[in-house]
Symmetry: C2
Subunit: 285 residues, 2 copies
């Protein structure tokens, strides 16, 4: 079945859900339904043309939808899948956008009807400003999309969601298991955000104007953090984040010790090693 | 006197010196002389049109130059000013480009003829790849230029070098004292570089492809570090760098402790404070 001839429901028209609805519309999907508890958001999304129609009651759109995007927090998406178990169209494919994955496949499987399949997904795209009003189909352009397929789905389901990810604008789709996802994201996303936050928690930041260049701008860009969202993400992924933070602090300690002791050779070796390791990330997004 | 009717010598045609020569040429300065110990670099720079003429022996160009850019390491530029003291044109203005400033005004003053003035300067521009072959007049576009004037120079001299900085393409000129420069640069430049190096000193960097987005790309961009250059910079500025690193580690510890203890309120407060502090850097470069 082709995406553009499908009916798709997007559950939760926040930043990510709203952006997905807009990107699906742009990709040619005619029947994009929006489901949200906020009737104002539904009216605005309808007026924008982001969705064909909005619903507070999910029963009607779910009964028609071949594909359902659950753009909710993990607890909420599991509850939604459970509470609306009888409403999904027979054989529908479900996917989601949660940024921390551990245990989600099992939790969804526990509440899902046997004819339904769930392909967990995490688009590596976002903005610090949340909500439908900040939604933008362009956030997916050039981004990576990570899939953590559940045992309920087959190869064709995974390939289909990978195709949807590309239709949204993503240019890399990575398939992995939930634990690997959380361990890698702790390092590649959660650590840079915490490092940026820590860097601006310094009184000198208020005097930085005129003293800073590209390195400071880049190092602190994501310090423009959404505190509520990131409190949840970091606590949900604490088991993987804390080791990543520990490795980062150990590396800072090694560099700091070499500088403090004036050990030119040790410092040169560490910086050379950093440059060499950095080459290894080439081609990353 | 107008810059474009002046004779200017650039001493040391490395990345920064070469870039300054090219940018001066582009700004309409006819007589840009290059002084370097490497005759090949002089020939290439002449062939490029970056300099009107190159000299291994500084006596002749210095005798004609109203403005001299010393684009050498601190020890080398002090030695150059001392060894060529008798060659400078009467009343010439000297400036430099060193990235760590403490003590430089006093050291230059100790070897400078009384009719000469020295305006210390640090263009916040560069690349990780050094040498004349990587020089590029565009590295100054939109960058900050910091001046640390010495007691030998007057208001007009400082204003003149500020004008030269703008002619190079810089859009912000900041005037400060040497100690403040080194303290701020430790935080705004040296810390982001060390943090980026520390972040890639993690085995997971080699698996990051497909798992990373803009935050990781930005956080690790300057890990493509020049180990020789940065070993010198960090050791030269250790007294200011180590306290900046200490504050960063303390902030990481606070964030890590809040996450480890599952203290939702403390984590939310720290991230909110980071976002608020980050607003304070607005308008920085």
């Amino acid at each position: 079945m082709r995406l553009d001839s499908m009916s798709v429901s997007v559950v939760g028209l926040g930043l990510v859900g709203g952006s997905i609805a807009r990107a699906l519309k742009r990709a040619g999907v005619e029947a994009v339904y929006g489901i949200d508890v906020d009737s104002d958001v539904l009216l605005i999304a309808e007026a924008d043309g982001a969705i064909a129609r909005g619903y507070e009651d999910p029963a009607e759109p779910l009964a028609e939808s071949d594909l359902v995007f659950l753009c909710l927090k993990p607890d909420d998406l599991v509850a939604f899948a459970r509470d609306n178990a009888s409403s999904f169209k027979e054989g529908a494919l479900l996917t989601d956008t949660a940024g921390v994955r551990r245990g989600l496949n099992a939790r969804v499987a526990a509440v899902l009807r046997k004819d339904l399949r769930f392909v967990g997904g995490h688009p590596m795209a976002g903005k610090e400003d949340q909500g439908y009003r900040n939604s933008d189909p362009d956030i997916f352009r050039g981004a990576s999309y990570i899939l953590t397929p559940s045992p309920s789905c087959g190869r064709a389901d995974v390939e289909f969601v990978a195709g949807v990810a590309r239709a949204l604008g993503c240019d890399a789709v990575k398939e992995t298991d939930e634990d690997t996802h959380d361990r890698m994201i702790a390092y590649t996303s959660h650590l840079p955000h915490v490092a940026a936050a820590a860097m601006v928690l310094d009184p000198l930041v208020l005097e930085a104007k005129g003293f800073s260049g590209g390195s400071f701008r880049d190092a602190t860009r994501v310090a423009r953090i959404n505190p509520g969202l990131w409190t949840e993400l970091l606590l949900a992924n604490a088991d993987e984040f804390l080791p990543a933070l520990g490795r980062f602090r150990a590396a800072l300690d090694s560099l700091g010790s070499a500088i403090e002791s004036g050990d030119r050779d040790a410092l040169y070796r560490l910086l050379s090693e950093a440059r060499r390791m950095n080459e290894g990330k080439h081609g990353t997004r």
